[in-house]
């Protein structure tokens, strides 16, 4: 779910929620919950953990929203709260060896693949399983940087703001994560690797 721009009057929702309007806040939760859960899921690797993280993120958001600076990007702020909560949880409980896959519901996880591209026939469930297993080998920061940069598709500068590190640190985390994931892909999931000579991309 992408809610870039302000299609539903996001600024208005934020302003009202910051003023204590519960209905506006509930709406804000609906607008942002999928992104929060997805990010938390990819960082923690567990759907129940992601649900717990999402709850704590939105409770925290309710408390600190009055202090939100409208000059800041709301999504950056929300990602920061989410990633910090997810990393805290990871550090508290330690990595799980095998991430919990999403429910095997084809309607939920059906790959689109309608563009006939490289990944056209790739099952998202297989891809998620592979990532779940391989991402357990990353440090929390590497994992968070990779998720934000490569899965959420954020710019390096924004990832740096979210993680409160320099851009070069982000690049380093992503580089290390790629190396680890690439080695795992080649060794354990050769079927997911694109054939030589083909380039991925949209």
């Amino acid at each position: 779910m992408r809610d870039d721009g302000d299609p539903e009057g996001l600024s208005d929702l934020i302003r009202k929620a910051a003023g204590g309007d519960r209905r506006a806040f509930d709406r804000l939760v609906v607008v942002k919950r999928e992104r929060v859960v997805r990010t938390a899921y990819q960082v923690t690797g567990d759907l129940e953990d992601a649900r717990d993280v999402a709850q704590s993120v939105f409770l925290r958001l309710w408390r600190v929203l009055p202090r939100f600076d409208p000059g800041q990007r709301f999504d950056t702020w929300l990602y920061r709260i989410t990633v910090n909560a997810a990393i805290d949880l990871l550090r508290t409980r330690g990595p799980k060896g095998m991430l919990q896959p999403l429910p095997e519901d084809p309607s939920v996880l059906e790959a689109e693949g309608s563009d006939g591209g490289l990944e056209a026939g790739l099952d998202l469930r297989d891809l998620q399983r592979a990532f779940s297993r391989l991402a357990a080998r990353l440090s929390p920061k590497q994992r968070a940087a990779f998720v934000l940069r490569e899965i959420e598709g954020l710019e390096t500068a924004e990832v740096a703001r979210i993680l409160d590190v320099t851009e070069s640190t982000v690049r380093n985390h992503v580089l290390q994560a790629r190396r680890t994931l690439r080695a795992g892909l080649e060794k354990d999931y050769p079927g997911l690797c694109p054939p030589k000579g083909r380039k991925g991309g949209a």
Binding site: D3, F25, R51, R149, G200
Partner: protein, 128 residues
């Protein structure tokens, strides 16, 4: 939010395929559960606006109580007034001798020394 970068910044990188995970949709029932969790948790909380008010009221009450009680507690305790000693009325010092006239021949002598009174009756004709 910035425009998503398609499949990472290096499309030749094998790990770029993980960018497709952004297409994953989280199950709707789980998202509804998140909303329910949040609503329930917020309902259990004191509303934010009324959250500070009671806290401030308690603080004010505590400050007022402290302002009143602490100086009182630190003040030296007033010495309880001693019970007023009522001086006993001094017994008029009595000492003396008086002779009381009687209608008869007898004479009465009243001898008093302090609290002791001796009455002597003298009758010359009295034969014991």
């Amino acid at each position: 939010m910035s425009e998503p970068v398609p499949f990472g910044d290096d499309p030749d990188d094998l790990t770029a395929i993980f960018a497709r995970l952004r297409e994953i949709e989280i199950p709707a029932d789980l998202l509804e559960a998140v909303s329910r969790d949040v609503t329930a948790a917020l309902d259990r909380e004191v509303p934010r606006r009324h959250w500070i008010r009671p806290a401030a009221a308690w603080a004010a009450a505590a400050a007022l109580a402290a302002a009143l009680l602490v100086p009182a507690a630190l003040q030296p305790r007033p010495v309880a007034p001693l019970a007023k000693v009522v001086p006993q009325a001094a017994e008029p010092a009595r000492a003396g001798i008086s002779s009381l006239r009687t209608p008869g021949p007898a004479q009465v002598l009243d001898l008093t020394v302090g609290g002791t009174q001796v009455v002597m009756i003298f009758d010359a004709e009295l034969k014991l």
